[in-house]
């Protein structure tokens, strides 16, 4: 088990290197730092001196891969690749466009993101499993059919509409909660209720339908027939046997997103003004802050790989027959 984990973690390294190379290629080779400077400084008729100054301030005035002007090891380290891309591996993200340290910013913004994403994840899971189990209980009836139709209809609505509609109804018409904003500590719940509800509701359609098929697949198995043949009530069969077994594919399927919860939700955060990583990313994209986008890409893939490893572990935890070697 331990050996397997070590190997998985080692396997993550080439992937992270790959991600790093892709972002390096996109951000520095396809576009030279000169282009970035021109983009940031705005007008097309910007002077070369201004570009040089912009590059020097941000440390982009280095060669891409090999600094032949430097001495010794500095030949390799005094380059954009080493300074900007390789340093991501030790979580040195550098400074954003407004000269703030990205690392500090990320550490501070992680918690509001988690405060929103974790409840959405947990409540959403509970709601969707319940809904799917109900549909499975009433399978092949009009209740089930209307449930499925409802799911498909809910899947067909863009998240944007859920957010805009929810904000309008709950905040503007009913004045239940503030439209947007955030506060630290326990006070945050006032601001989080609506985004959490919207996050859960917008996810119901797709997830419930998926869980329903898992439940139905499980219901068709032999042990379920045996349970019924023993004379167990349908409810007992569902809750005692089917639910437990169907949770295996459901839980192992969702484990992969758990680390990504730190990244938060792009849309909710920016609509509700929650100072998390999602809104940070959107702001960076809109301000064309390449340093921040690069860091977020790296962190995102790091968390995704952590999710993959967690998924593998969760398989052995829920099903002792699977052995990792």
């Amino acid at each position: 088990m331990l050996a397997y984990l070590v190997r998985r973690v080692l396997y993550a390294i080439p992937i992270l290197i790959g991600v790093n190379l892709i972002t390096f290629a996109l951000f520095f080779v396809v576009n030279t730092p000169d282009d970035m400077a021109r983009m940031q400084l705005g007008s097309k008729r910007v002077t070369p001196e201004a570009i040089e100054k912009w590059k020097a301030e941000r440390g982009y005035d280095l060669p891409l891969l090999w600094n032949s002007g430097a001495a010794g090891a500095a030949k390799a380290t005094q380059t954009i690749f080493f300074q900007k891309s390789a340093k991501l591996f030790v979580f040195e993200f550098g400074a954003s466009e407004d000269q703030r340290d990205i690392g500090t910013e990320i550490r501070a913004r992680m918690w509001p993101s988690l405060a929103l994403a974790l409840p959405v994840f947990l409540v959403g899971l509970a709601v969707c499993i319940t809904f799917a189990l109900l549909m499975a209980f009433f399978r092949a009836s009009y209740l089930d059919l209307s449930g499925v139709v409802l799911c498909v209809a809910m899947m067909s609505i863009s998240t944007l509409f859920y957010i805009i509609g929810g904000q309008y109804i709950a905040s503007k018409l009913w004045h239940l909660v503030p439209i947007s904003g955030y506060a630290g500590g326990l006070d945050a719940q006032r601001f989080l209720v609506l985004p959490v509800v919207i996050g859960v509701v917008s996810g119901i359609g797709a997830s419930s339908r998926w869980y329903r098929t898992i439940f139905l697949e499980e219901i068709g198995k032999d042990y379920v027939r045996t349970a019924r043949a023993k004379g167990l009530a349908e409810g007992t069969v569902l809750f005692r046997h089917v639910l437990k077994n169907a949770l295996i594919p459901i839980l192992t399927g969702v484990v992969v997103v758990i680390p990504l919860l730190f990244l938060g939700s792009l849309l909710s955060e920016s609509f509700f003004g929650i100072p998390g990583l999602g809104s940070y990313t959107i702001d960076a994209i809109q301000a064309q802050d390449f340093a921040v986008v690069r860091s977020m890409v790296f962190i995102g893939s790091l968390l995704y790989i952590a999710g993959l490893i967690l998924t593998d572990i969760s398989y052995t935890v829920v099903d002792p027959r699977i052995q990792l070697q």
């Binding site: 996109l26 396809v30 067909s156 805009i164 904000q167 503007k172």
Partner: protein, 454 residues
């Protein structure tokens, strides 16, 4: 002067390819069978009618030209406008041309915003001004309700007659092919007629869905958005398909280091969160386009290249799902006896792939294609909101929502552009989802066996 935009060519090519595929399938019973199962699904038939309407709109909107400007003298060279119009624009010219100053509610005769008006006797008055076009034909505004009702009724009657005429056609189709549920399709057609009839009748005198901030007709914007959605949903597959099929099948068939390499490749791409990867690509694209700004003759060309690039980027970032599915399936297939037999006969790898593997994974490709469509349409809206979607000058659901989201805070609420985007998009995505479900049920043997057993 005709203008050929790249996406136009691709859209028409795709339409031709689909038509060719339909003909090809009709001749071959083993391919026609799953499709006939799809067409026995009532929901699929109804959604097909809606989809056909959208496709027709999209195709009409994919024929572009630059109108001739008035010639000043006989001798001067013909000058062309720098506006690029489409066939749909010509059909909707009465909607396109008649823009107001700012917001106006659906069917309104007066503007949303008050204005300083000067009365003939010189007095100033702050009032809601009459619209330039909406209800301009009314001499007395008291006739407004009656006029609207009259026009709507006329539209309904005309649509009803047309619908009844179609009933004859449908009855004949039903006699020829009784297994297909024609009734849902006919009802769907009825819904379209009943909505379109009054809308057409009213649109000559009013803004049926109101106007937006700069006074453009919202109905026009919604109809124009359809093409953008369709292009995103279909052209993307042109990039996604070759990558997904080639890499997925190769990984599953050749195994070994090819498999390792391809798996490494798609795990790496997959591990970057989707929106971020797309954002990174689009940011880079913006820089490149900025650098070559002189390359595009008109704004439409520029917007078109941006749209095309967005499709390419979406395709580049989303082929991994299909590749993984195909890898699994061809891994399974390559172990089967008939493939081993082919090996034993000395059939080359390329031939085995083409003759034995590809036809047997085709159903997965078709299912993945139709399932991806709705997701891509939804993604466009989100990406345009984030600021990495289509060119801001391209009319799309995303740009409509983006422009409309601040309007919910106004007093009174400007709900119509958001509502129009919602309804048009919802119907498109819902129809696509229902059709995709039917296709999956029709093509996936596992589902069929499950349905029989249950």
């Amino acid at each position: 002067m005709p203008v050929v935009l790249v996406t136009d060519v691709l859209v028409w090519l795709l339409a031709a390819a689909v038509a060719g595929f339909v003909l090809y399938c009709r001749r071959r019973p083993h391919l026609a069978a799953p499709w006939s199962r799809v067409f026995r699904n009532p929901a699929a038939m109804a959604s097909l009618v809606f989809l056909a309407l959208y496709v027709a709109l999209g195709l009409l909107d994919s024929v572009h030209f630059r109108p001739v400007l008035e010639r000043k003298t006989e001798a001067s060279r013909t000058a062309y406008s720098s506006d690029v119009l489409s066939a749909l624009d010509v059909m909707l010219s009465h909607l396109r041309g008649r823009s107001e100053k700012t917001y106006s509610a659906p069917l309104a005769t007066r503007s949303y915003a008050k204005e300083q008006l000067e009365l003939p006797d010189g007095r100033q008055l702050r009032e809601f001004p009459r619209l330039r076009f909406g209800g301009a034909h009314l001499k007395d505004e008291a006739e407004h309700a009656a006029d609207v009702a009259k026009r709507a009724a006329a539209g309904l009657v005309a649509a009803g007659l047309l619908w009844a005429a179609f009933g004859v056609v449908v009855r004949r189709l039903k006699r020829r092919n009784p297994a297909v549920p024609w009734l849902p399709a006919y009802l769907a057609l009825g819904v379209i007629f009943m909505l379109a009839g009054p809308a057409v009748a009213l649109s000559s005198g009013y803004h049926v869905l109101g106007t937006d901030k700069v006074g453009q007709d919202v109905l026009y914007l919604a109809l124009k958005s359809v093409r953008t959605s369709l292009v995103i949903g279909t052209v993307t597959t042109l990039v996604l398909l070759p990558l997904g099929i080639a890499l997925g099948v190769m990984a599953g068939y050749f195994k070994g280091w090819v498999d390792d390499l391809i798996q490494y490749f798609y795990t790496t791409l997959n591990s970057i969160p989707g929106v971020l990867l797309i954002a990174a690509f689009v940011l880079m694209l913006q820089v490149v386009m900025e650098r070559n700004a002189d390359f595009f003759p008109t704004a439409a060309h520029r917007a078109d290249v941006r749209l095309l690039a967005l499709c390419a980027i979406l395709g580049l970032t989303s082929w991994t799902g299909l590749a993984r599915l195909l890898r699994g399936e061809s891994l399974k297939l390559s172990g089967l006896e008939y493939i081993q037999a082919a090996h034993a006969f000395g059939v080359s790898d390329a031939r085995i792939l083409a003759r034995h593997i590809l036809p047997n994974v085709a159903h997965i490709v078709i299912i993945a294609l139709v399932m991806d469509f709705s997701g891509l349409v939804l993604a466009e809206a989100v990406l345009s909101y984030v600021g990495v979607g289509v060119d801001p000058s391209t009319i799309s659901f995303g740009t409509m929502i983006n422009a409309a989201r601040m309007e919910m805070g106004r007093e009174p609420v400007v709900w119509w552009s958001l509502a129009a985007a919602f309804v048009f998009m919802f119907v498109l995505v819902l129809a696509a989802n229902l059709f995709a479900d039917a296709v999956r049920d029709g093509f996936d043997p596992r589902v069929r066996i499950g349905a029989v057993a249950a």
